[in-house]
Structures are given as structure tokens and as C-alpha cells.
Symmetry: C2
Subunit: 261 residues, 2 copies
DNA sequence: CCGCTTTGTTTCAAATAGCGGAACCTGGTT
DNA sequence: AACCAGGTTCCGCTATTTGAAACAAAGCGG
């Protein structure tokens, strides 16, 4: 569907395409299935799968010759998560907020105009709801997404807007760039964003951006609930706690001035 | 240090080596640092970094030209985690166990003789302790590790043993293959493994394997505590609950007989 | 039991993509 | 200005990758 790949550069690009294809399947895939999805030359695909497999990026199930993503990816991602995102710093604050409010808290960042969830703390009632670390979602119809978009600099915002699908998920979904810009202006004023069942019916949330000293959004934090439990006003009442958390995280993130000897 | 890479195959192999090198640094690295770590030709390294960067596997910080792991890895890993591991199935049971026992629960699997943590539920007292999804650890001195080793078939066990470092972490660490084999025999009998402060002083745990119908270990579950809170006997008392969880997970894993229409 | 299809693996000459030494920038330091 | 360190680009050489086609190995239907 959406390929983050600009223009396939060389062998490595192709290999990553294959990896992505396996990922896209979301289940073990047979050689011939992959061959069918894209118009790859047989031998080429075979060789790439071979290479990826003995690199641990893929695992081949000998039983019925299917390929699935390898655990090496999980290892690499852990290091990406802990060394290249705000998640490890934000962690304790997310904990605290979730415990204080007794609701589900999400930590997310923006990647190519999409929301990428970095962490989550469930309420003690772990109501089944999608999103976990590594999961991606739309920006234009989620609390965290809008909170970040609202504080994006002009240029970045424009390219992010172009990446929005504006699909209609619920009757409340914002489905045009114009309407979204209005909403973002309001969010900028309030410093808070709401999801009024715009993504999933019955699911509402309040979100706030985590901003760098320069003002640009580094991520966002949201408190999610369901319409069965809370009304929007109830969530709004949690705003101060939420903003305390986000500013605390910003502060913790700041000390970009400590080289270690 | 330890390269899971067997013999570098082609360009893709080299690219993944570079990726691994960035990961190994655990922080943003400058071009010259990478150049120093391995004896790569300048131009080659440059090109590979370039490729990886515009593939989203790396991100280049324009500010001071450093490279760090890209978020695309986190996305891919999420799909690996949710489509190629037992984690999504085990999740609810891990939740329940952690809630029931009020202690930290870990879900792990074995990868190349090392323990790879797949999930974790903290006790409400989130005592800082390492290990999270994606983190790797030693097998010979952890509860989950030993629980899985104990039920490995002959051949797999031998190769796993060869991968053990047998470093001494604490006075209680098992430091020889012979001693470990004795321990594994006991674990096989009991169906349960203990970590008696073998990895970290003050940290103890009880663990049980999650086994396939064939008997081979698919993963392991552990309940961790500290010597300040529990003695080994206290943990042993939790054994039945733990084993209920592992057998439940095994059962949930079984229905390999439901094709969807 | 035997052709026939489907799926996966290997070969090999041709072409291309990657290689890497060396030259070349660029910005900071002496 | 001369120097230097870190980074980027050039470019001819060759190792790697390429992919059509031949080959193996399962199914399968008659």
C-alpha cells in the first residue's frame, strides 16, 4: 500500500523491499506468494530471500517452506527504540500519569506524517484496543497526531498534510485539509487536542504535544477513554495533569549539554 | 563483539553490518567513528550509510551529521513481534498472571542460544530493572533461559551450550556446561526453573517453559522478585499459578487447525 | 504407475552495481 | 595563508548481481 521507499536504490533497496513484502503479509508467506505480489524475477527473489534469511532478518520455516520476519529485527528495533526515541526518557512519566489517572496512556511520535506509537500503559482494565509500540496510525484523526501536527513548522506541516489519507473512519472524522487546519489552530491555542470519536466509534482521548526548546513537537502523550466511561468534559478535566507530564518530559529531555567523559 | 552474522553475504550483508554497527554504538554516531570501529573503505561506508538512510533504516541528524537507527525498524519489528512470535497470543495470559501475583512477569524466547525478551508486565512497583521487549540476555543464568534450555532437543541444546558465555555475574552464577547440565536435569524433573541471584544480586525468579505439542520449548514465562520482598520458597509457592499460565498459553497456541475462509 | 503441472532450486554468460583509491571540498584551527 | 580533519564525489576496474532458462522435486489426476 504505502511504500516509504522513495526510489529503490540498488541491491539493498531491493532486499528491503522484499523484507517489507514479508512484513506486509503479516503472516508466514510462501515463496510463490511473494513472487506473485510483485513482478520480481524468480531467481532474484530467491537469492534475496536466501540472503535475508541467513542474516536473521527472515526465518524460514523448513516444515512448509514459508518465510516470516526474524527476531533480529526485534533486537534492532529495541535499540532503535531505546537510543533514538524519546521513549526511554518519557517512560517513567508515562507510568506515573497512567497510574494517577487510571486510564490508558499512549506515547507517540510522528514519522513521515504518520503516528508511530512508542509506548503505552494500559488502565488496570485492559480493554482490548489496538496500538502498541511500533504500531502506526493516521495523524489527522487521532489525538496524538493532531497534537503534533498543530505545532509543526510550516514546511513540515505541508508535507505531513500531503501524507494524510483523510479516510472517513467515523461520522466525526475530519476529512479535509481545510477543516483540519481550523482544528489545528484551535489546538495550538489550547495546547491540547481531543479525539472526539474521530478514529474509532466510542473511543475518545485528550492529547498534548511534547515540544523541544525550539517549539517543534518531539512526540505527544494522550489519555484515552471510552464514551461508556467518560465524556469529553471528564477528559478535559485531566488536561492539567497531562500537561504537567508533557512539560516534565520536555524538561527531562532538555539537558542536551552533558557529554560523558 | 558477537556478530550473529555468519559470513558476510554480498552487499546486503555489508549494509546490515553497518546497521548493526550503528546499533552497537547505542547512540548517535558520527561517520568517522564508524569508520574507525571497522576497517571499512571510506567511500564504501559512505555509500552504505547513504543507502540505509534514504531507506529509513537510519536517520541522519543534519545538525551534527550523526547517524542513528531509524523508526522504520520499530515498525518492522512490531510486525515481526506480532506475526512471528508467541507474544500476541500469550499477552492476555501474561496480563492475568501479573495482575494475580502482583509481581513482574517476563515473556521470552530463545534466539541463537540467547534469551530474547518479548514482553513484560511490571508489578505496580515498577522497580527499575533491565529487560524489555527486544532486549537480549544470557540463557545460562536466567530463569527463562534455563527453563527453555532444559527442554531443548539434544542437537539444539548442544549448539545453544556452545553459545553460552558462562561469565560470572554473581557468586551464584553457574559457570560451566557440566554444572548447567545438572541444573537442567533438575529443571526437567520439576518443570520449573529458578534464578537464585545468578544474574543480578538480589534478583530472584521462578520460570516455566511454554512448550509445543512436540515438547520443544517455544518460550518461557517468569515471575521475578527481589530478595528484599520474597524468598525462594515464596516464589516456589507461585509455581502452580505460573504453570497454569504456561499450559494455558500452550493450549491457546495449539489450534494450528483453523484455516479462515 | 506415469505423464503433467506446480513450486522451488541451480546454472551461467552478460551487464551492472558496487568497489575503493585518490582527488576534492568545507569549515575550523594554528 | 597554510594546515588539518571530517566528509563528499569521481571514475576506471571488477566482483556481484542479474534473470532466462534448464533442472529437481513434489503433488495430482487419470
Amino acid at each position: 500500500m504505502n511504500a516509504p521507499t522513495g526510489h529503490s536504490d540498488g541491491t539493498v533497496g531491493k532486499a528491503l523491499d522484499v523484507l517489507e513484502a514479508v512484513a506486509a503479509a503479516g503472516r508466514p508467506v510462501r515463496f510463490s506468494e511473494l513472487l506473485a505480489t510483485k513482478r520480481w524475477p524468480k531467481a532474484t527473489l530467491y537469492r534475496l530471500l536466501q540472503t535475508l534469511t541467513n542474516q536473521g532478518m527472515l526465518v524460514q520455516d523448513a516444515r512448509e517452506g514459508t518465510y516470516r520476519l526474524g527476531l533480529r529485527l526485534v533486537q534492532l528495533a529495541h535499540r532503535a527504540w531505546s537510543s533514538a526515541t524519546i521513549a526511554p526518557v518519557a517512560g517513567p512519566f508515562v507510568d506515573r500519569l497512567a497510574a494517577t489517572l487510571g486510564r490508558t496512556v499512549h506515547l507517540a511520535c510522528l514519522d513521515h506524517g504518520q503516528v508511530l506509537y512508542l509506548d503505552k500503559r494500559s488502565a488496570r482494565t485492559p480493554l482490548p484496543m489496538y496500538s502498541d509500540a511500533g504500531k502506526v496510525g493516521p495523524a489527522y484523526c487521532t489525538g496524538v497526531g493532531k497534537a503534533m501536527l498543530a505545532f509543526l513548522p510550516e514546511a513540515a506541516l505541508r508535507s505531513a498534510l500531503r501524507a494524510q489519507a483523510f479516510d472517513t473512519h467515523t461520522p466525526a472524522t475530519i476529512t479535509s485539509a481545510e477543516a483540519l487546519l481550523d482544528e489545528l489552530a484551535q489546538i495550538r491555542d489550547a495546547g491540547l487536542a481531543f479525539d472526539r470519536e474521530e478514529h474509532e466509534p466510542g473511543i475518545i482521548c485528550i492529547a498534548a504535544p511534547i515540544r523541544a526548546a525550539t517549539g517543534e513537537p518531539l512526540g505527544a502523550l494522550s489519555v484515552t477513554s471510552s464514551t461508556l466511561r467518560d465524556r469529553l468534559e471528564d477528559l478535559a478535566a485531566l488536561g492539567p495533569d497531562l500537561m504537567t507530564a508533557t512539560t516534565d518530559i520536555s524538561a527531562a529531555l532538555h539537558p542536551w549539554a552533558h557529554p560523558d567523559p
